[in-house]
């Protein structure tokens, strides 16, 4: 009975965004013709928010009914893959982890949807935008609610698709489509790892004599601890492969480089998908499979080190960026690194804690930056900003709160989660405590990255909102065309192969409003500032309200490893944050230093190098494209010539010749056809009678 009750709720949660998606997709265009753009915007915007807000309310109801101490509940809906040896039904899992994620997705999702109504108001493809957004929410709910890895993969690919569609939302600008393709292709690598991991898990589980055929479902997997215990090497392999998938989706080191480019999408997309929800899917996956990861210290070490390196690496790159959204993108990559450090240290739930707080303050940062961009005629270069606090007071205060939260200043949200992560990492017991502990190293690295976080966020805040001059007042026309001062070198390389070829570049004049010297920034409308305020409250309160409680609650669904309490972590964390901010203030108090001006020649070598991601992106993208080209060239010259042309062509020519030969009997005259039929009859009946007589 309890299950049926939840069945309806789960169905409602998943169906709402799907129905919303269908309405937007199929009625949007018609409505625009019939009702006109303005009423369409109101109506469809409202419906889009509703499609996310209703699931939020339903989730709250589920939460109250579920209670704080209930055990995980599997809600089967329908059969799907139904073989004799393997079953993967449409079944969903309600437990603290999925509820936490659901609340984040639908709660922050509805705020961002609300914001997007204002942000996208002038866009011609208003309904297309919300089509993708609602579809994304649907896929994401499936991802977090799924009770088996196959269904999770459906959501996993679904969010990937929506991410691709939304990055390339303004597809008429070729750079956007290239960014979308890049995101999609890089994610393919991750998904490939994920799939192999999945297959490996399938092999491991199917080779055992199980009572269950639903052996990729979490409730069955959790009870198969003995199997994992007996095959540590395979488990490590599975964990590492699944982590490759998580790296792709959550933008960790070898595969992080799609996320900065993904900022080509509209800002609400960056806030929702590329900061708050989708990119945390990797962390979510690791949490879901925490019972698997705890069996493999090696995998945990790798996860922690990769996370820590990414946190540091991305934080350094952030210093070389002038685009406000790029800075936030690298900050996201860096913060995701923190979450993986937590997972690697065995403190999986601390990772989720950071997911939650990060969702608040990073969504806020993105929405705030969106407000700035909106106010500054879609110019994203921080060098054109300055002293904006005068014009955008609400945005400024919200952004300030988010800045303090991300830098880890108490009592803001980021402090608690970050402290939990660093504490878990430094005091970990993953390896049982002998030799060099990789995870501890990761912990210290993360602590240093926290310092850098304060530093580059102070840079962002001062360059944008504070400082002494309003720099766009001194703008001249050739400056505004420097919007992309740090070029993305890989684009030309990719383009050379025509792989990303799409429509020729068409910039629409209406979208290309110039930022001029006499521009007066205006505060955003209420519909956009309201979400900012709500998120700001969340960024303040989420930390101390949830501290400890969330981690305890999650114990029901997430396994964690024990760790030592390290007493000095809290002061050290605060010190790192404060120190970073102070250094930042010292450098950027005056505004834009000469060394970071329009002339890249005056920049320090290191900053230019950091700005170009230390050449990593160029090397990987260009290298991959070039070597792909080489392989293709080799195949086309050698394989094509010898195998295709020579062998297969020869066979084809022979076949054709035979065909031509038989074709001569096809004269077009019915009399001949009749004669052939007669011969056939004689042949057939004759053969039968000959075989009756036993040969001639």
């Amino acid at each position: 009975m309890r299950t049926t009750y939840f069945q309806q709720d789960v169905l409602l949660i998943i169906l709402c965004p799907i129905v919303g998606f269908l309405i937007q997709a199929f009625l949007g265009g018609i409505a625009k013709k019939k009702l006109g753009p303005s009423s369409t915007r109101n109506l469809f915007g409202f419906m889009a928010v509703l499609a996310v807000a209703v699931p939020f309310v339903v989730t709250l109801r589920v939460l109250t009914n579920f209670g704080p101490v209930s055990s995980p509940l599997v809600v089967p809906l329908a059969p799907w893959i139904d073989l004799n040896s393997f079953r993967a039904p449409f079944e969903f899992l309600i437990d603290p982890l999925s509820l936490t994620m659901l609340l984040v997705i639908t709660g922050i999702g509805s705020l961002i949807h609300l914001y997007a109504i204002g942000y996208m108001a002038k866009d011609k493809d208003f309904t297309r935008f919300f089509t993708y957004m609602n579809l994304f929410i649907a896929a994401m709910t499936i991802l977090v609610l799924a009770n088996n890895l196959v269904l999770l993969f459906v959501g996993w690919e679904g969010v990937g698709l929506c991410s691709y569609l939304l990055i390339g939302f303004w597809y008429k600008d070729k750079a956007n489509t290239i960014a979308a393709n890049k995101a999609f292709i890089v994610n393919r690598i991750g998904d490939f790892g994920f799939m192999i991991g999945l297959f490996l898990l399938y092999c491991l589980m199917s080779s055992k004599a199980h009572r269950h055929t639903r052996f990729l479902s979490y409730d069955v997997l959790r009870t198969s601890i003995e199997t994992f215990h007996n095959h540590p090497a395979i488990v490590t392999g599975i964990c590492l492969l699944l982590f490759v998938g998580a790296c792709g989706k959550s933008a960790q080191f070898p595969l992080y480089f799609w996320l900065p480019d993904a900022m080509a999408g509209p800002t609400p997309v960056s806030a929702l998908i590329h900061a708050a929800t989708m990119v945390t899917a990797g962390v979510f996956l690791l949490n879901r499979l925490s019972f698997l990861f705890v069996f493999s210290p090696v995998a945990c070490g790798v996860v922690a080190i990769v996370g820590a390196f990414t946190a540091l690496f991305a934080a350094v790159i952030a210093f070389g960026q002038t685009d406000i959204k790029k800075v936030l993108a690298y900050s996201t990559v860096s913060q995701l690194g923190f979450m993986f450090v937590a997972c690697g240290a065995g403190g999986f739930s601390a990772g989720i804690f950071h997911v939650v707080t990060h969702a608040f303050f990073k969504a806020l940062l993105f929405l705030g930056s969106g407000a700035v961009i909106y106010a500054m005629a879609h110019n994203q270069d921080m060098r054109n900003y300055g002293k904006l606090s005068k014009y955008l007071p609400i945005t400024f205060i919200c952004m300030l709160i988010a800045f303090l939260a991300i830098s880890g200043i108490p009592p803001f949200a980021g402090f608690y989660s970050k402290e939990a992560i660093i504490g878990d990492a430094i005091g970990n017991q993953v390896f049982g405590g002998s030799g060099i502990n990789l995870v501890t190293v990761a912990g210290y690295t993360a602590l240093f990255a926290a310092l850098l976080t304060g530093f580059y966020m102070a840079r962002l805040t001062w360059l944008t909102f504070l400082g002494k001059e309003e720099r766009w007042r001194s703008i001249s026309t050739d400056h505004s065309h420097h919007a992309e001062a740090v070029p993305t070198p890989a684009l030309e390389v990719q383009d050379a192969f025509g792989f990303f070829a799409s429509e020729p570049l068409q910039l629409e004049e209406e979208d290309h409003e110039e930022l001029t010297a006499d521009h007066n920034p205006k505060e955003v409308p209420l519909i956009m500032s309201l979400p900012l305020v709500v998120l700001a409250i969340g960024s303040i309160a989420a930390g101390f309200l949830l501290n400890g409680k969330l981690v305890n609650w999650l114990q029901e669904s997430v396994q964690t490893l024990p760790f030592h309490e390290v007493s000095w972590v809290t002061p050290a964390g605060i010190t790192a944050g404060v120190l970073g901010i102070l250094v930042g203030i010292a450098v950027y108090f005056q505004g834009l230093p000469q060394k970071e001006g329009w002339d890249i020649g005056k920049w320090s070598r290191f900053r230019v190098w950091a700005g170009s991601q230390f050449g990593y992106d160029k090397a990987v993208t260009g290298g991959a494209c070039a070597s792909g080209n080489d392989i293709a060239n080799f195949l086309s010259s050698q394989f094509e010539r010898w195998i295709i042309e020579g062998v297969l062509g020869g066979i084809a020519r022979t076949a054709k010749r035979i065909g031509d030969l038989i074709k001569t009997t096809q004269t077009g005259f019915a009399r001949l056809y009749a004669a052939v039929i007669l011969c056939g009859v004689i042949g057939l009946v004759g053969w039968i009678f000959i075989s009756v007589r036993g040969g001639f």
Partner: protein, 482 residues
């Protein structure tokens, strides 16, 4: 007072056929009233008739084996499935026909009644094990088809195809009828049921009669399904006939003829040793010959005609497997026929779009640039081609896998190998069609009618079907097996 026997009447078993014929008559009555050049009403009547027939069919689906009308009507699962496929084929054909007929200026509203009667004939043919009924159904099917082939009266090619089809059809019907007569001579019955017992108890001379009759009936059915060497009419008739008729003919005639073929083979399975070799030879000839001949064609309709020949060969392999191992049931064959019907009719539906200014446009090069003119049609065409080759995840793949595994299971490994070789050869010309539609640029700007709702729905449905039945293969199999 006479006491002649009154046959049992099973209205449910006859329902689908009866309804269809009745609606055909209704359509003809409307045509008699002559709605000035507007065939919309007749088309609507046909669609309603097909729907009503389908409802009647489904309401009685899987009711078990019932013989009625003096054992002339056989209501069983094989027949019901065949009827269902036939109804699908006819519906899709009706959907694509109206714009095509308008474009070709074929003003005959008689088209639709004829189509319905042809379908009814095919349904009669597939729901009887009585040889006379099979013959009757075949003739109703064929005679309607002869007329349909020639319905484009201003076109020489259409007339020619009708004449050829009629002449050769009549010729082969003679063999079929003679075969029936021989079997009647041996058993004193028209029903295939009596064959087995007569074979078991009969003398050598009755054996001779039976085998001779079998051979001649096989000739008749081979002609209908287009097996080599009884195939030569196929490309000429397919090419000359109006494309929508070709679409119907390529699927419906095969579905009906194979249902009858299945019953024939089942009845004659005990005498397998005598005819397995010649029929295997026909299968091999058909598969290889059909594919090789398709390679050298430049006309899409002819390519598809030869492809239909080779597909008939594949299905014959399944029939032979069934004869050798009776545990192999008709599920594979019906699945194959369903997938074949969807993809072939779909491909012809796309082709029917190309007709312009009253002319057939079916050269391979006429497809060039289809991708730009009508992307949905092009994508659908590629899906059909991939399915015809037998690439996953399309229905054709599973169809071939089923037949292949049946053949291996029955120990007909050489035939399975030939099947595989044939499929490989077929990739060349199917992909050539896909290439023509997608890659090659058109020489001059070809005329393209904008696709109207009917054909668009038709091939989109076919495309969805081709994918869906492969996704839901196991429910469909169990549905067929019920």
């Amino acid at each position: 007072m006479y006491y002649p026997p009154v046959p049992t009447v099973d209205p449910l078993a006859l329902g689908p056929v009866g309804i269809l014929s009745l609606f055909g008559v209704l359509g003809l009555v409307v045509e008699l009233l002559r709605p000035k050049g507007k065939n919309g009403t007749i088309m609507l009547i046909s669609l309603v008739g097909l729907a009503a027939s389908a409802i009647a069919l489904i309401s009685d689906f899987g009711a078990g084996t019932v013989r009625s009308f003096g054992q002339m009507e056989l209501h069983d699962h094989l027949g019901s499935i065949s009827e269902l496929i036939l109804l699908v084929v006819a519906t899709i054909t009706v959907l694509i026909s109206e714009p095509y007929l308008k474009e070709k200026k074929i003003a005959f509203g008689e088209f639709y009644p004829l189509l319905l009667w042809s379908t009814a004939g095919a349904m009669i043919m597939s729901t009887s094990s009585n040889l006379l009924m099979i013959f009757l159904g075949l003739e109703v099917l064929s005679i309607s088809l002869y007329v349909l082939c020639g319905i484009s009266r201003s076109e020489e090619k259409s007339e020619e195809s009708a004449a050829k089809y009629f002449l050769l059809g009549a010729f082969s019907s003679g063999f079929l009828l003679y075969g029936i007569a021989l079997i009647f001579g041996a058993t004193g019955h028209f029903d295939l049921l009596s064959v087995t017992s007569v074979w078991a108890n009969g003398s050598a001379s009755s054996h001779n009669l039976l085998l001779g009759g079998f051979g001649l009936i096989v000739v008749g059915l081979c002609f209908k399904t287009g097996m080599i060497p009884f195939h030569q009419w196929t490309p000429d008739v397919y090419q000359g006939a109006p494309t929508n008729v070709t679409a119907f003919m390529s699927a419906a005639a095969k579905v009906a003829a194979f249902a009858a073929f299945w019953r024939l083979i089942s009845a004659f399975a005990p005498s397998l040793q005598y005819w397995l070799a010649p029929l295997s030879a026909i299968a091999v000839l058909t598969i290889l010959g059909g594919n090789l001949l398709a390679l050298v064609q430049t006309d899409v309709k002819r390519i598809l005609a030869y492809s239909s020949i080779s597909h008939a060969g594949y299905i014959l392999v399944d029939l032979l497997a069934h004869a050798k191992d009776p545990s192999i049931n008709y599920v594979s064959m019906e699945f194959y026929l369903l997938s074949y019907a969807l993809m072939t009719v779909g491909a012809f539906a796309v082709l029917s779009l190309l007709a312009a200014r009253g002319k057939e446009v079916t050269k391979l090069s006429d497809l060039n640039g289809l991708w730009k003119r009508n992307p949905i049609a092009a994508v659908a065409l590629v899906a059909f081609m991939m399915s015809l080759v037998g690439l996953p995840p399309f229905a054709g793949f599973f169809g071939k896998v089923l037949i292949f595994s049946d053949a291996v299971k029955a120990g007909l490994v050489p035939l399975a190998a030939v099947l595989a070789v044939g499929s490989v050869i077929s990739a060349a010309y199917y992909l050539a069609i896909a290439k023509a539609a997608f890659v090659d640029e058109p020489n001059e700007s070809p005329v393209q009618r904008p696709a109207t709702l009917g054909p668009q729905t038709a091939f989109v449905l076919c495309m969805i079907g081709v994918i869906a039945i492969s996704v839901f293969i196991s429910p469909i199999q169990s549905f067929f097996q019920r």
